[in-house]
């Protein structure tokens, strides 16, 4: 029974993922556990973000190129509602909401931001939303940078990790002692993957529901949906808010992974990473982003190494550029030759929205 569900595609994706993890061990003779944990943490966070983006693009055909700003809203709102220190002076704020409450509000804020952006653009053609989301992400970046009194600007926010780390279970500390990696990162990693699990279950539940059915119909033919008395625009907006909320959660996790947050974190490049991961994993599949994310991060981190070999004289910024060169090529290549990615089905793609 279960065997029937597991397709060849899935097995291949699983194999590719495991192989790339193995590659990490191969190429890093020392410190492998630490590197692997770092990789898995980023993979988890970005994978979650890509799952949110997939709700936008895969489920609903919406072009969102400002995903980083949803992550950013989630992160900033959550952090600012908890005890933290911000700005150049490091002004300390000792009062705040408990972690779960702040997180919930952060996610809701991200969803509301999605509503705000979606309202003008969703009833129009696809490319409009692309432009609006890019513009909004840019506005977000500029506001975060300039409203220093609120967001800490370029100096950012610090001293917030304790709000989350205090819930860290002791078994993690035991493991990390033995295997030499950071317990606080391990906690974030665990949280990320647990979040992914819950999100996937949630989305599967939704997918098999009347709401999920309605969304699929919108994807097929909006006019027919309207002729049946359903508000296609509102359905799309709801989906937009859902994906935004998921992105908000991933943004919070990213903030806790870094330990400090400032205006150069949630930038367009982040959005492009998530897009590459989503396409790689398979547009429209719920679990695709997971595989895409792990493989993507292995590629990215290992090619950094090759970049050093090739371009001896380049400075740090230029080397980072090689990463993005790859991201660009990857996106193009996938979209042209294998838009269904690892797990996606060709027939499921709706790349023809005019």
């Amino acid at each position: 029974m279960i065997l029937k569900k597991i397709s060849l595609r899935f097995i291949f994706a699983l194999f590719a993922t495991l192989f790339s993890i193995y590659l990490v061990f191969l190429l890093n003779s020392e410190g492998a556990p630490r590197i692997l944990l770092n990789l898995l943490t980023f993979a988890g966070i970005y994978g979650l973000s890509a799952i949110g983006l997939n709700v936008h693009f895969g489920w609903t055909g919406l072009l969102n190129f400002g995903h980083a700003s949803f992550m950013g809203i989630g992160a900033y709102v959550t952090l600012l509602l908890m005890p933290h220190a911000a700005g150049r002076e490091g002004v300390v704020v000792t009062t705040g909401l408990p972690f779960i409450a702040a997180l919930t509000l952060g996610i809701i804020a991200a969803a509301l931001f999605g509503l705000l952006l979606g309202l003008p653009a969703i009833r129009l053609r696809g490319d409009y939303l692309a432009i609006v989301t890019i513009a909004a992400a840019e506005i977000f970046r500029l506001l975060v940078r300039d409203l220093e009194s609120i967001t800490g600007g370029v100096y950012g926010i610090i001293n917030y990790t304790e709000n989350f780390q205090k819930y860290r279970p002791s078994f993690i500390d035991n493991f990390s002692d033995n295997l030499d990696f950071s317990p606080s990162q391990a906690w974030v990693c665990l949280a990320a993957w647990v979040s992914i699990l819950f999100t996937i279950l949630f989305l599967k539940r939704l997918s098999n529901s009347p709401w999920g059915r309605a969304l699929r119909a919108v994807r097929e033919d909006e006019d027919a949906v309207r002729a049946m008395g359903k508000n296609a625009v509102w359905l799309k907006l709801q989906s937009f808010m859902l994906g935004a909320g998921i992105a908000g959660l991933s943004g919070v996790l990213l903030a806790f992974n870094y330990g400090s947050l400032e205006s150069t974190v949630f930038i367009p490049l982040l959005t492009f990473y998530v897009w590459a991961i989503m396409i790689l994993g398979g547009v429209g599949t719920i679990t695709g982003p997971i595989f895409g994310s792990i493989i993507f991060w292995v590629i990215i981190s290992e090619t950094d190494r090759f970049a050093y070999l090739l371009f001896e004289n380049a400075n740090g910024q230029q080397l980072a550029g090689v990463r993005f060169l790859l991201v660009g090529i990857l996106i193009m290549f996938l979209m042209i030759f294998r838009p269904s990615g690892l797990l996606g089905k060709k027939e499921e793609l709706l790349l023809d929205v005019k």
């Binding site: 119909a217 033919d221 008395g229």
Partner: protein, 256 residues
């Protein structure tokens, strides 16, 4: 005042100088089966679009049950009981026939995000009832054997049937059928025609755009003829058959 279900007054629509629709007054009584015919480009589908909200008119008014629905949004008009089909069938290709029907028949409360997460028993009950209704309709239309197939696997004629089924599972007050017989083989056309007749007899008001004049003559209670966007004839089939304006419009004027 009236038993006019739909009233159209001074409805005008042009596309860049080209007049598509220009109807001074058109009234539709409840329960009537009216066919709208006319040569190609007469503006029939545009007329449908205008009264169902899929296009905005340049001027004029449309009333449904005395309520002004001019330029209202299509989904709102559909909720008021006016459901339409399309010239090119718009079935949901990547969903099964059953899902097509379930979606169409499901009311907006059932579809809501909240309900879909909670998955209460009431929803389960509703869905089961809906499934029964869908099965009944599929049986009536002889497409029950395709229930679990993807809609894209259906033949052209079966797609037309599915579109019809979707429209009626809603139990609409008014049905706007846009060329329900287009591209359908004669036997199937007969079946669809008798279905439409049955629906009309059960009280549904039907407006039908059709090119198949023979079929139109057979079942219509009333025929409206549009040419170049304007009304040129309106009456019973026998009157229309011999109306000179109509004959001219279809065959072209003698001196051309």
């Amino acid at each position: 005042m009236s038993n006019n279900l739909i009233s159209v007054k001074n409805l005008k629509k042009s596309f860049g100088g080209l007049k598509a629709v220009d109807v001074h007054e058109l009234l539709f009584k409840k329960g009537q089966l009216t066919s709208i015919i006319g040569p190609n480009g007469a503006g029939k589908t545009t007329f449908f679009d205008l009264i169902s909200g899929f296009q905005n008119s340049d001027s004029g008014k449309v009333y449904l049950n005395e309520k002004d629905i001019s330029n209202s949004q299509p989904y709102k008009i559909a909720r008021m009981g006016m459901v339409r089909t399309f010239q090119l069938t718009k079935v949901f290709d990547r969903m099964t026939v059953m899902e097509n029907l379930l979606f169409s028949g499901s009311n907006i409360d059932n579809d809501s995000f909240l309900n879909s997460i909670l998955k209460l028993n009431s929803q389960k009950l509703y869905e089961n009832n809906l499934k029964d209704k869908a099965n009944e309709i599929m049986n009536d239309l002889n497409i029950a054997h395709m229930s679990n197939s993807y809609a894209r696997e259906l033949s052209g004629g079966q797609k037309k049937l599915l579109e019809l089924a979707r429209a009626i599972i809603n139990e609409p007050e008014i049905l706007l059928l846009d060329e329900p017989l287009a591209g359908v083989n004669p036997k199937l056309a007969e079946d669809i025609l008798s279905l439409i007749k049955k629906l009309s007899e059960s009280g549904i008001t039907i407006l039908m755009v059709e090119h198949n004049i023979e079929a139109v003559m057979k079942i219509s209670e009333r025929i409206v003829v549009l040419a170049e966007g304007s009304l040129i004839a309106d009456g019973e089939p026998n009157e229309i058959r011999t109306d000179t304006n109509v004959i001219e419009a279809y065959l072209g004027k003698d001196d051309e």
